[in-house]
Structures are given as structure tokens and as C-alpha cells.
Subunit: 348 residues, 2 copies
DNA sequence: GAGGTCATTGTGAGCGCTAACAATTCCTGC
DNA sequence: GCAGGAATTGTTAGCGCTCACAATGACCTC
């Protein structure tokens, strides 16, 4: 055995074994240039032998850097937020940072404030807030916080630095696609009013119609769930034959509900009504029929937002804008065009 | 202004303002009993005024406790793992712990080892590993690690302490339900071979059939994705009319693919073939038809596993078994019984 | 009013590391 | 063969907190 099993070995223990000072050990660990090869090797061997690892708390205390970032998320398994979470962690780890997460059942000023306190007590150097609800963004802006915060999923409503997929553009792609296919107008099933991204999608949809000289119908509202989509779908079915031939649904899960309601009402998709979703969840390709939808690059959101946050933490002038927009992409399938995409892996 | 904006205030700063020693401030913060009310109030006021917060690194160094737990997860947005992740964080936070996550694209000995190192460098006191793949459990067992580890999602294969939903029982519920409905036999679309939970579901299915005196057919294999379910569904469709009337699918997403393949083959569900899934993802209720499935209580998994981990960290004798099993629950819908559950919120 | 007890507060020594500087050793070149 | 500089190593002082113990003072008791 190499050392007392009671306490993990310290830098001084390693130094003693290697016959050097603790500072030399520190230099080896910190990859400092001015250490003789022979010495370095001896220290390495001692480290190896004792299974030594630096104590992160002591290091953090001395350097005033914890190399930890916080993430505040809501605890939904919605595809978008969950994907963003993973992308954030991966990007942060690539930069050598640890990520601590707090997931909230609902985002209010109180819960957000508690979450930031919890993270602050954990010593995070900065926080990414996945805050799609407008109220959360407002709360974020008014909270005093001792570290930089970057918001994500806030659509166009960011009063704080942010990285977002351009929802307005995504909605334009979806709506434009339907108009180009010959539909005279496009209905819209929107997400919750409180979500800025939902509002942005409404704006994009409305603007596209207006530019085409079409008076937009009144949008319906859902809550992202398949159930709300199903209910809206029943209502939409009642308008078939009275000018409704195309619907842009604000997410794929609601689109699933719409498809079911239409089918049950004897309405065929896409022959009678074309449907476009949003998100491109893995299941969309297997809906009946496979769903045309808008894909968002969450991985890019993660990387860009982490890069921005690190710039802010380290006091650098951000290398780009502090409100980052990422382009979404339209994925065409059979729900808008009967011969599109037979089931199978995407080509290319 | 209350203090130099350059450095956050320290305990000594607060002490000076309140006219006491730093130790008294520490006592107030630590809710020590022997502090005069008047003093306590004065200190509180000083803390408030300076916006003081304890430095977590210094605290961790002095107490040798970081109050941080690590979680290793794979970066899928699969419903089960993602739900478990949130449940874990919530349970840990309730106990005053911060949670740092590492999400891996694939779980191998190398990636797992790196993840544990990364967390170790972050000073975690223990780790929860969401390790559904058998290889990951094995890797976990052989890695030397300086802190306790509790595995989750490992099915019955836990060589380390663990908390799991009883997959064997879940499969029995599903299979038994189909037999009770009068089906002569039940086919099975299993998950990947490497997943212990998939294997446990196979065992439960097989045992139930054998007890009923039925020779189990050869199970099909999928990879959890809707696409793999679709392909298996096409194969299953070929057996309709030759004894196939019921299928137990190892997760809901594959069941979605199966349903579509059957529908395209002109096979009706549940009249020609009944289908049971597993997981009860939020969408299941809106499949065509709504899916009978097995629900798992991830929140319980989170709470129990965190409690177990904290017992291990604090050197207590665990208050319960170190291999915790949680009961799943069957949810009956129209995919096995044509008049079950009209769409709408679940009753009760 | 001396001695004892208790509640309250202060003091000093680390926790294990890094940063700044001091000391030493090793080369150069002439 | 020795000054001068660079390379290498050691020494010291914190980082901001908690713990153990010492000191103070208030309040009793006889």
C-alpha cells in the first residue's frame, strides 16, 4: 500500500515521495515549462503511485475559479429543451467546465431566484437559462445576480445576452412552403401565449401571409401537448370545405394530435389538408403520415451560448453579437406532399 | 455603495461592519444556538447590507464536503432516461445537494472513466450512473473510483448498489394482460441485446408464456427507435393469420412504428392484432389507436437512489436494501381493447 | 464578595492549493 | 575559470472558511 487510506493524498505527500517541493508538483500538474524532464518524470511517477488527484476546492479557493457553469431548465422532456440541455453540457465539457443543473417545475420569479441562489451557493461562474416563457425572461432581467447569465430559448425577447434559433424565420419557411404548394391560405395552431418562441412563430406565419396578400385567419392556441393538438384538430376539421386546406402547427407533438383528429373526422392528409409541424422530433418521420416540419440545430445553440458565456465570464469582448440567431431548416415529408420521403433513414 | 465592487465581500468584511468577529458571523450563518438575539440581528443586517454570500470553495475546503453529486447519463432524449435525470436533480436539491451532469454519446469503459474523472475533478462526493447498457454496468464495477456510485436503469444486473423499476414484473403485467384477454400467444419485439432492461423484459414475457403452457415464439429485436419498430412491424404483419394476434413491444416509440406498419399492411389494431408498449410516454395516448403500455415511476427511482447514495456517502448503514426495486403499473388503452379510454385527460 | 457556572464571543491554526518572489543550479562565452 | 544570465527549484504568504479552544462577562450561590 502506498499511503494512509484515511485521507486522500495531498500535494505535499506527493512532493515528499518524489523528493521535491509541493510547488514543483503543482508546476508539473499545471504543465509549466520550466521543469527538468527528469524531475517531471519522477513527480509523475509519484502521482501515479499514490493515485493523487488535486483537491478541487483548494484549487478553486486559491485561483478564485471554480470552472463550473450552471444551467437552469424546466423539467419537461420536451424535445427542444432536453436536447439543448445535452448540447450545453457537451459544449461546456469541451471547454473544461463542469455543468450543474437545476430543473424547475415552473419558472417564476421566485423559483428562478431560488435556482440562481442554489447555483450561486454551488460556486458557478456563470449561468445559462433555458427560459422559453416570457415571464421567465423578465424575471431574469430584474434579478440581481453576481455572475453573467446567457438566455436560451427566449426567442426574440432577450433583454439579456442570448442564443436562439430564429423562430420567425422557421415559421416563414413553414408557411412559405405551404403557400408555394398552392394553398390559398394557411391556418395556425400556436403554442402558449406566454412563450416568446410561440409568439415569434405566429409573427413569422402572419408576416408571410400578409406579404402574399392574404388575410390571416385567427390562430388557435395549444399548450404543446398532443391532447391540445387533438382538440384544436377537431375544431379545424370543422373548417374543412370552408377554405381550410393547410395548417402550420407550432410543434410536432401538437401536430400528432391534429393528425389524429383529422383522420378521425375523415379528413385525409395531405390530400384534403396539409400539415406542417415544428421541431423534427425523432418520431415525426413515423407519424401517419410522416410529418413535414422545421428542424432546429440545438447543438449549435449549445456551442454558441457557451462560447458567449465564457467570453462574458472571462471579461473578453464577445467575439460575435450578444444576441445570436441560428437558422432553422425545413424538412419536407408526406404530410404536405403525398410522395415525399418513404420511411427509412434520411438520404445523404 | 456598501463595499468595494472589485471583490465580493468576505466574512471578515461582514464581521467588521457588524462589529463582531468573523467566527460570530459564521455562527449566525450556521444557525448556532449560542448567539445573542441582538448580535444575531446585527450580523444579519450587515449580511443583508453587503449582499454577502459564503464562498463555497472555502467552505468546501474547510469542511471537506462539497455537497455536490454527479450524474452520468447518455445523451438521449429517450423518455425514461431524461425523466430520471430530472427526478434525480430534484431529489438531490431537496437534500441541499447540487448536481453536476455529464452526458455521454456512448457508454464505454473509456468514456465512463473520463466522465468519472471529470466529475471527480469537480469534487463530487458521489455519483449516480444511469447505465442501462450491460457493458456500462460492467465497466462501472471494474473502475476504481474514490466515491460511492449508485446505478440506475441497470435492470437486474447491478453488481453495484442500484435503484430500478422491476422490468421483469412490468413485462409480466403486459404479457399477462394479453393472455387474460384471450390471446393464445404473445409475440415480442425486444430492445437491444446489450440493454439489461430489455433482457429483463424478455425474461418476464417468456416466463409468463411458459407458465401458461405456451411455447414462446422467437423474439424480434429493435433499437428503441420508431424506425426499427416499423421494420419489425412489417415482418410481424406477415405472421398475421398464422397465429399472431398479440404483440408486446419493449417501448412506446417502437410500438409507434409497429402500429404504422400494421396499418399500412391492412392489419387492424386491436381487432386483428393487439399491441402493448412500455414507458407511457406522453404521446402514447394519442397514437392511432391509443396505446396500452407500462408506466414507470421515475420520480420514485430518483428519490430512492439519491437517498441510498447519501447513506453511502455519509457512512450510514443504508436504511433499506442496496438493490431497490420499484413496481411498474399497467395502463390499459384502446390498442388492446377497442372501447378503452377515449382521448382526454386520464380519469381520476 | 469569592468562587463557580453558563452563555456568549474571540483567537489561532489549519484545510490544500497557487502566485509571487527568493534562492539555487546550470550553462554560456570570453 | 569566472561573471552574467537563464533555467530550475524552494519558500512564504495568502485564498475564505470552520473547528477547537481560550477568553470574557453575566449571573448565581453560599
Amino acid at each position: 500500500m502506498t499511503h494512509s487510506p484515511l485521507r486522500p493524498p495531498t500535494m505535499a505527500d506527493v512532493a515528499r515521495l518524489a523528493g521535491v517541493s509541493h510547488q514543483t508538483v503543482s508546476r508539473v500538474l499545471g504543465d509549466h515549462p520550466n521543469v527538468r524532464d527528469e524531475t517531471r518524470a519522477r513527480v509523475q511517477r509519484a502521482i501515479e503511485e499514490m493515485g493523487y488527484r488535486r483537491n478541487s476546492s483548494a484549487r478553486a479557493l486559491a485561483t478564485r475559479r471554480t470552472r463550473t457553469l450552471g444551467v437552469v431548465a424546466s423539467n419537461t422532456t420536451l424535445y427542444g429543451p432536453a436536447s439543448t440541455l445535452f448540447a450545453l453540457e457537451e459544449a461546456a465539457r469541451a471547454e473544461g467546465y463542469l455543468v450543474s443543473t437545476v430543473s424547475l417545475r415552473k419558472l417564476t420569479v421566485e423559483t428562478l431566484s431560488e435556482a440562481l441562489d442554489h447555483l450561486s451557493d454551488g460556486g458557478v461562474e456563470g449561468v445559462i437559462a433555458i427560459a422559453p416563457q416570457r415571464s421567465a425572461v423578465e424575471a431574469l432581467a430584474e434579478l440581481r445576480r453576481p455572475f453573467p447569465v446567457v438566455a436560451v430559448g427566449t426567442g426574440s425577447a432577450s433583454t439579456v445576452p442570448s442564443a436562439n434559433v430564429d423562430q420567425y424565420l422557421g415559421a416563414r419557411l413553414a408557411t412559405g412552403h405551404l403557400l408555394a404548394a398552392g394553398h390559398r391560405t394557411v391556418w395556425h395552431l400556436a403554442g402558449p401565449e406566454d412563450w416568446q418562441e410561440a409568439a415569434d412563430r405566429v409573427s413569422g406565419w402572419r408576416a408571410t401571409l400578409e406579404e402574399a396578400g392574404v388575410e390571416p385567419p385567427l390562430p388557435l392556441r395549444g399548450d404543446w401537448s398532443p391532447l391540445s393538438g387533438y382538440r384544436a384538430g377537431q375544431e379545424l376539421a370543422g373548417w374543412v370545405g370552408r377554405g381550410l386546406t393547410a395548417v402550420f402547427v407550432a410543434n410536432d407533438q401538437m401536430a400528432l394530435g391534429v393528425l389524429r383528429a383529422l383522420r378521425e373526422a375523415g379528413v385525409r392528409t395531405p390530400q384534403d389538408v396539409a400539415v406542417v409541424g415544428y421541431d423534427d422530433i425523432p418520431e415525426s418521420e413515423f407519424f401517419a403520415p410522416p410529418l413535414t416540419t422545421v428542424r432546429q440545430d440545438f447543438s449549435a445553440v449549445g456551442q454558441r451560448s457557451i462560447a458567449l458565456l465564457l467570453d462574458l465570464i472571462e471579461g473578453r469582448t464577445p467575439s460575435g453579437p450578444t444576441r445570436i440567431a441560428i437558422e432553422p431548416q425545413l424538412v419536407v415529408r408526406a404530410s404536405t406532399y403525398p410522395y415525399a420521403s418513404p420511411p427509412g433513414p434520411a438520404p445523404g
